[in-house]
């Protein structure tokens, strides 16, 4: 009887703990002036099925971004195979501004060649024209890279379709949770469990080369910070002082980790740890809580949360000797968890907005606060490597869930998980 119950329990538990939380990204509100584009199915002349539907992946990427309105295939009047075959008048009639055409063909070495051209209907100009080889299992990645190129050509910013998201999933009843650190492609594909534990996992942070994650795990019974290499799974404990070991953040060169320690006195302060030498430098020395460090992209200063003025507010401190912390946020009673945009000009924070915790963006000097999200308990903002979108944790029917908002607040995406609670998303850097 016990054995049978055990087998049933394992059958129920194991698949769920090995799979991710299966995220699905959905556009809630797009831009009113989204760009009309036609992604013509790539020509395929070889025998058999096309190994990957490159055009469908590009279509889905662009649509999900909220910035484009791809034309349905069924509405296309013709399927040109090259820029020279594009009849501008026909596409103008369909109110399409851009057309992507191309061809997929097998190469003698077993790989494939993706050849594509992007045509502007307004002036007939060929904006992109590229051929690239790809392995069969790299065709999806190649599709995302074409989406990146289209996005950049038309919007002036590189797309982030070939990036990944790390997040924490929590399952089970309140008093008996299990935790998983998961990495997924930004479209929800290729989910992979990086680390699992019956004790809390927190605060994942990407290394700037996208190869490792730093995070907090309580699996030893106490908080410690680990750096795990994704390819090998090798996990190195980098900080296990008494008290808090939290909020890791890699320096832009990847050699240092800003983190929060409380040591024996129990008061949280920000430190900088040099990974190769384990040398520790204390950055804040204050009776107050100092935590949640985030590096400026130039590596010369660190933003952090402090309640030295009463409630939590965002401060900036230079890394030079004798540099003093400067308060950045003055709007409202609660501003915390800063994250800096890749160009260093914008800071995403959690702000208390009329009784609700929401995601806001401010200028790096502290002015111009714009509240971007509309939930009650939104937190953990993380900015895409192109600066265009912010992913964060929100509440959906009483559970932690993920959502994306564009940096200008105009586009909203909801990410639904198949089960459990998902939170603390961290957007990867560009992966090359």
């Amino acid at each position: 009887m016990i054995l049978r119950a055990l087998i049933v329990l394992i059958a129920l538990t194991l698949p769920a703990s090995q799979a991710g939380a299966q995220l699905t990204v959905q556009i809630l509100r797009g831009m009113a002036e989204s760009v009309p584009i036609a992604i013509v199915p790539l020509a395929w002349d070889a025998p058999g099925e096309m190994p990957w539907d490159v055009s469908a992946t590009i279509h889905a990427d662009l649509e999900r971004s909220g910035r484009f309105r791809p034309l349905a295939r069924t509405q296309m009047l013709e399927l040109p195979r090259a820029a020279s075959e594009v009849d501008a008048a026909d596409w103008r009639m369909l109110k399409v501004d851009y057309v992507l055409v191309g061809r997929l063909s097998p190469l003698p070495d077993g790989r494939y060649e993706v050849r594509y051209e992007l045509v502007s209907i307004a002036n007939g100009q060929r904006l992109l024209g590229t051929a690239m080889p790809a392995d069969r299992n790299a065709l999806k990645l190649a599709s995302h890279r074409i989406s990146d190129a289209i996005y950049e050509k038309i919007l002036g910013v590189r797309g982030a379709f070939a990036t990944r998201i790390a997040y924490v999933a929590a399952d089970g009843p309140t008093t008996k949770r299990s935790y998983r650190l998961i990495v997924t492609d930004v479209d929800g594909a290729n989910e992979r469990v990086v680390f699992a534990s019956p004790e809390p996992i927190m605060s994942p942070a990407w290394s700037p080369d996208g190869r490792s994650l730093a995070y907090v795990s309580f699996h030893s019974g106490l908080a410690a910070i680990y750096v795990q290499t994704l390819r090998t799974g090798e996990q190195v404990r980098v900080s296990a002082k008494s008290g808090i070991n939290g909020a890791p953040s890699f320096s832009p060169d990847g050699k240092q980790l800003a983190l929060t320690l409380s040591r024996k006195d129990g008061n949280a302060d920000v430190y900088v740890l040099t990974l190769a030498t384990q040398e520790l430098r204390r950055l804040t020395e204050d009776e107050a809580i100092d935590t949640e460090p985030a590096w400026a992209p130039d590596g010369r200063s660190i933003y952090f949360t402090s309640d030295r003025a009463g409630g939590p507010q965002v401060y900036n401190v230079g890394l030079g000797t004798g540099d003093r912390a400067r308060r950045i946020t003055f709007d409202g009673s609660y501003n915390a968890r800063p994250r800096v945009s890749p160009d260093g000009r914008q800071i995403a924070v959690v702000t208390l907005d009329r009784g609700a915790y929401r995601i806001a963006a401010i200028d790096a000097n502290g002015g111009g606060m714009r509240v971007l999200s509309g939930g009650q308990l939104d937190e953990s903002p993380s900015i895409a490597p192109n600066g265009a979108d912010i992913i964060y944790t929100t509440r959906d029917r009483g559970r932690d869930a993920l959502a994306i908002v564009s940096s200008d607040g105009r586009i909203q995406q909801r990410i639904s998980a198949s089960a459990g609670e998902v939170r603390e998303p961290a957007w990867s850097p560009y992966l090359n």
Binding site: A5, S197, H219, A223, S262, R263
Partner: protein, 176 residues
């Protein structure tokens, strides 16, 4: 009934199959700090399944003074101990002082509102306030370990004031 904890133990152990191998340890730098590393004491994932964190373990006073509860609740965004908990803390401190071998973990928690790492710092403050109070009443430093869970381990689910006030707490857990 006895089979349930055993079952959960086995299950927890099995679930660990998916975990990476045991953490590789980087030696603590001896130059930068003389602090002892509390987390490096050789406790690994194998600790899971010893039954100490099964439902029922928290909220009990196993190993503590008889008839005294082990949870101290806090006001919103506060870490000062309310006067009503003076006798509770005094009982635990006396118990620790008289049983020199006894050890407790002072576990700090917050409600779910606000930023997670900020809440870790808040909950650490609460745990430290209780630790200091216990020491003032006679408990030894070596008997006490603090750990802050922030909002990561709520006692009860829900996003309302009645759940929040049960989650803003410090728990005293014996035997760790």
């Amino acid at each position: 009934m006895r089979s349930l904890p055993v079952l959960l133990m086995i299950l927890c152990t099995l679930m660990l199959v998916g975990c990476p191998k045991k953490p590789t340890t980087v030696p603590e730098s001896s130059g930068s700090t003389t602090e002892e590393s509390a987390a490096g004491s050789g406790q690994g994932e194998g600790q899971v399944g010893d039954g100490s964190d099964l439902p029922g373990a928290s909220g009990s006073t196993t190993g503590g003074p008889a008839g005294v509860t082990n949870i101290i609740y806090f006001d919103f965004d506060r870490s000062d101990i309310r006067p009503e908990y003076a006798s509770l803390i005094n009982s635990h401190a006396k118990h620790l002082a008289s049983a020199g071998g006894a050890k407790i973990r002072v576990e700090g928690h917050t409600d779910e509102r606000g930023s997670r790492e900020y809440n870790i710092a808040l909950a650490e403050r609460r745990a430290q306030a209780v630790r200091r109070a216990l020491m003032l009443q006679g408990a030894g430093d070596a008997q006490l370990t603090t750990v802050s869970y922030g909002e990561e381990r709520p006692a009860v689910p829900g996003s309302n004031e009645s759940a929040y006030e049960k989650n803003r707490r410090v728990e005293l857990v014996y035997g760790r």
